[in-house]
């Protein structure tokens, strides 16, 4: 299967190893992965803050870059960015042609764990790890894309792992994009509840499919001097030791 | 401007606003696949399994118990009267108010207690027990349904601290949907649904029973002859 990687600006610049791990996992699962260097961002920050004109420009650019490839699928290590692509069509209320192109792109775009399990039919990628880990259900992945069972299946098949389900795994971490800096106190309050549940679970690693949630959670864990690590699911699935 | 003029102005203005704004949304509606619009009459009642009478009556009993309502299933009116007597004696009740239901009259007479019908406000607020019947009941929730067309129930079932409700097994239906189908809102200008005792969780979500309505509900179900 030919896969075009949509790496996302966050992963590209802040945690590029997640991008490398994503490629590794896809290749190990039998995909041929290409990366189109013209890509930058899906425009989610603009859309979420209400700057639809800017968001539309990003959307058009994304569609133009990805639609002509002969790829079978576009795969991304981010639930929220994938969800944004699914929402592109809302930016073209008066432009039927663009709406159609947006819907076509959306149909081909997948988040990594959903792609592995639902499209490739794979739930064991031969990974090995000795973490005691818990899963955080990132909001867009869960509620926009329906990603819930897929990552759990993939992770439980990792050899050596101990998986614990935390309470309120499906409750927001408090990031919400610009919300995290517009209302930082509220964001921190929500985050502290998440940290409480992580600690209560006894896990030493928190895993998610969204680098933004992981950035939020890691930022607080680090600030309070916690030993708990954060890892993106791609990193766990790519690991061999 | 007279009240009438203002009234018709307001009415016209509101309807005009509704129509204008609906018209404005039409172009946006055409774009998106709307939620499939059902004409209300097309909506079928959720599939209800056919239950036999015994099942329905038992369901009613179980759900009443879950609500904490005391219930007694009796064979005939004399037994109902005995049950009522028990309740009155245990509560040491002195003042009983009743509705205009003939069934209630018969039972209360048979029990030998004095009771007041068409009680005044003072009498209602000073009473210990209110006795009514019920026109229907809902098994799936343990609900009593009282229709004002058949019985003057509104205050007798509400003001006294204890409510005793006497009904026939034949009045019990399985679901709310059935009641909504058969209850006639024109004949019964007030239909009251009662599910357990009065309650609140307004203070720290802690349950407290008996706020304004009765804190105790007794149900006596007489087998239909």
């Amino acid at each position: 299967m030919k896969v075009a990687l949509f790496v996302t600006c966050l992963v590209d610049q802040l945690c590029p190893n997640v991008g490398m791990a994503t490629v590794e996992v896809l290749e190990r699962s039998g995909c041929e992965v290409t990366f189109d260097e013209r890509q930058t961002c899906c425009g989610q920050p603009a859309f979420n803050t209400g700057y639809r004109n800017e968001a539309k420009k990003f959307a058009k650019r994304f569609i133009k870059i990805f639609e002509n490839s002969d790829m079978d699928a576009i795969v991304s290590p981010s639930g929220s960015c994938t969800a944004m692509v699914k929402h592109f069509h809302e930016l073209f209320p008066d432009e039927a042609k663009w709406r159609e192109r947006a819907e076509n792109i959306a149909a081909k775009t997948h988040e990594l764990s959903g792609f592995l399990v639902n499209v490739l039919g794979v739930d064991d990628v031969g990974a090995v790890s000795d973490c005691k880990m818990t899963w955080h259900d990132a909001c867009h992945g869960l509620r926009d894309l329906g990603i819930h069972d897929e990552p759990r299946r993939l992770l439980k098949n990792v050899k050596g792992i101990e998986f614990v389900e935390m309470e309120n795994a499906d409750v927001c971490c408090g990031f919400g994009g610009t919300f995290s800096v517009k209302y930082p106190e509220i964001s921190a309050g929500i985050l502290d509840n998440k940290i409480e549940m992580i600690e209560k679970s006894g896990a030493d690693t928190v895993v998610a499919c969204d680098a933004s949630c992981l950035m939020q959670i890691a930022g607080r864990l680090s600030r309070i001097g916690s030993r708990v690590q954060t890892k993106h699911i791609a990193e766990i699935l790519a690991s061999r030791e | 401007m007279t009240l009438d003029n203002a009234h018709s102005d307001a009415r016209s203005a509101i309807f005009a606003s509704i129509r204008d704004n609906l018209a404005a949304s039409a172009s946006f509606d055409a774009i998106r696949n709307e939620h499939h619009v059902h004409a209300a009459s097309e909506l079928a009642l959720t599939g209800s399994t056919i239950r036999d009478r015994a099942e329905v009556i038992n369901g009613f009993r179980e759900n009443l118990k879950l609500l904490g309502a005391k219930c007694a299933f009796v064979e005939n009116e004399p037994e109902a009267a005995d049950r009522l007597s028990e309740i009155v004696n245990v509560l040491n009740a002195k003042k009983i108010v009743i509705s205009d239901s003939e069934l209630v009259h018969r039972i209360v007479n048979a029990s030998g207690f004095d009771a007041v019908q068409d009680a005044s406000r003072e009498e209602l607020f000073a009473s210990d027990i209110g006795v009514t019947s019920a026109q229907w009941a809902i098994a799936e929730t343990g609900t009593l349904v009282l229709g004002s067309g058949a019985e003057r129930h509104r205050l007798v079932s509400l003001v006294p601290p204890v409510h005793v409700c006497i009904l026939l097994t034949g009045s019990i239906r399985q679901s709310m949907a059935e009641i909504l189908e058969i209850a006639d809102p024109d004949a019964n200008r007030t239909i009251t649904f009662i599910t357990g005792a009065s309650r609140t969780s307004d203070i720290e979500l802690t349950l407290a029973i008996g706020v304004h309505g009765p804190g105790e509900l007794h149900v006596i179900v007489i087998k239909d002859q």
Partner: protein, 491 residues
């Protein structure tokens, strides 16, 4: 200054104050923990919860698309049964109508059943100004009336108060010995309010649903105060938002399955009253006069766009409040408006004007928990995003409340620059290189701690982030650089 005088315009200040209140924190935690469990359990008693939600949404959609027809039908049928119908374009007009109706009875006191619509139009203030005493009879509403506050929740108005606070309030205002025993407190309230009921001649209530087919209104409750208010009095005045109408009596079955479960975790509330006009027999129990005041107050405007129209589907269950991580942190008063929480964040700007409530649509992480629990499937995140676009650009494809709002200059500029720079990969990569350089000023051990001071003022988002969290650094090599290396190695 009391929290209850906060406005939506000062949401950020209100929120900060709320977050610093440990008692409020405890009360909200109690609500959140309880609600999740109760709702989850009670939904199990329904065969097809999702199907029910879908049907409810369909009924509402059908009704709203033909709202004029259904309102005509409802008011005609209600009038045929003896109801006197009144129309109010806004809250002020509604209050005028109601005050005039009460004055006509010469009553100096009215008993009130809980009505959020009544709160919306500031009815109590209007009555008091007219020399009429409004007595709230719902326990939660009576508690906050004693405290001189406004409700902080749609369903449980005093949820922000702990038992201890309520106990102290009773000592001060009622004069009983201090007790935190909920039964004692409740019975005390009952006794006092019964005395008011015993002399009440006029009752004012809200309406949960109005049935067009029969002209019937439905009101739900647990306490019995609504039945008292509507049965003991000679005059019953009901205030009804125009969006409350539904087509048929049979439709009530759907909503009666959804509303109690979503609102209080019950299968059914203790009492439902279906009232159709006046009693047929003059000798019968019940009011001699029944009035329904149909209220617009900005609702008809919401019909102008598919996205905003769904605001009118709300059945005021409060589930979205209970599920919302933001509400759980700051409580209802922080929103500074009658309707708090997620539904409040979307209808308040539409009711009072975007310019007066422009913070509210941003007070959300867009997590979608509200959409998940809404019994009528209102897509609140979609609505929030729609309003954000209106605030920022004045256009989201059809506006409901046109407002020329001054854009936030710095933010607007930042987003335009982001849009421009990131449309060209070369500029995007250049920006990353610059960031790598600049971050040396603030990075230590591979992360950025609390930047504080000057830098916080120059780059506010960085200051806001790092006040509570460490920030990651831009990686020395980006993914695309690693990819290029990999490609080059392969050659």
């Amino acid at each position: 200054m009391s929290m209850t005088h906060a406005t939506p315009e000062t949401f950020d200040r209100n929120a900060r104050r709320a977050l610093a209140d440990p008692i409020l924190h405890r009360a909200l935690r109690n609500l959140a923990d309880n609600f999740v469990v109760r709702r989850r359990n009670v939904i199990l008693s329904v065969d097809d919860w999702q199907g029910l939600r879908e049907r409810a949404r369909s009924i509402k959609e059908e009704t709203l698309l033909r709202l004029d027809k259904y309102l005509e039908q409802f008011t005609e049928n209600a009038a045929k049964a003896g109801t006197t119908i009144h129309w109010a374009r806004d809250g002020k007009e509604a209050c005028e109508i109601i005050v005039a109706l009460v004055r006509a009875t010469n009553a100096k006191m009215v008993v009130k059943a809980k009505s959020m619509t009544g709160e919306e139009i500031l009815l109590n203030e209007a009555l008091e100004e007219a020399g009429i005493e409004p007595v709230e009879t719902d326990l939660g509403e009576w508690i906050i009336q004693l405290a001189g506050e406004t409700p902080s929740h749609i369903v449980v108005p005093a949820i922000h108060k702990t038992k201890q606070q309520i106990a102290e309030l009773f000592v001060e205002k009622v004069g009983i010995d201090k007790t935190e025993n909920v039964d004692v407190l409740t019975q005390t309230a009952r006794k006092i309010l019964r005395e008011r009921f015993a002399e009440a001649e006029v009752g004012i209530s809200g309406v949960n649903f109005g049935v067009a087919e029969t002209g019937t209104i439905l009101i739900l409750e647990n306490e019995g105060n609504i039945r008292m208010t509507t049965s003991l009095t000679k005059t019953h005045i009901a205030i009804m938002g125009i969006e409350k109408v539904i087509p048929q009596l049979a439709d009530l079955d759907v909503f009666l399955k959804l509303l109690p479960r979503s609102g209080t975790g019950q299968r059914l509330t203790a009492y439902q009253s279906l009232i159709t006009g006046l009693k047929k027999d003059a000798e019968d129990i019940g009011p001699d006069e029944f009035h329904v005041v149909m209220l617009d107050n900005g609702r008809s405007r919401m019909l102008a766009h598919r996205v905003t129209r769904q605001s009118l589907a709300c059945i005021r269950c409060g589930a979205c409040l209970n599920a919302c991580p933001v509400y759980q942190q700051v409580g209802g008063h922080a929103y500074g408006s009658v309707y708090p929480g997620p539904i409040g964040a979307v209808i308040t700007p539409q009711l009072i004007g975007l310019s007066k409530a422009k913070q509210l649509p941003y007070a959300s992480s867009l997590c979608g928990a509200c959409r998940e629990v809404c019994p009528v499937k209102i897509d609140i995140p979609e609505l929030l995003l729609h309003l954000r676009a209106e605030i920022t650009e004045g256009s989201a494809g059809g506006t409901t409340v046109k407002a020329r709002l001054k854009p936030k200059f710095a933010e607007s500029l930042a987003f335009k620059m982001y849009g421009l720079a990131w449309s060209k990969p070369a500029w995007y990569e250049f920006g990353a290189k610059v960031s790598r350089l600049m971050q040396r000023l603030v990075a230590r051990d591979g992360k950025i701690g609390n930047v504080g001071g000057l830098i916080s003022r120059l780059v506010p988002p960085l200051g806001a982030w790092t006040a509570w969290r460490d920030a990651p650094v831009v990686a020395p090599k980006s993914f695309r650089e690693m990819w290029r290396d990999k490609e080059n190695d392969a050659r």
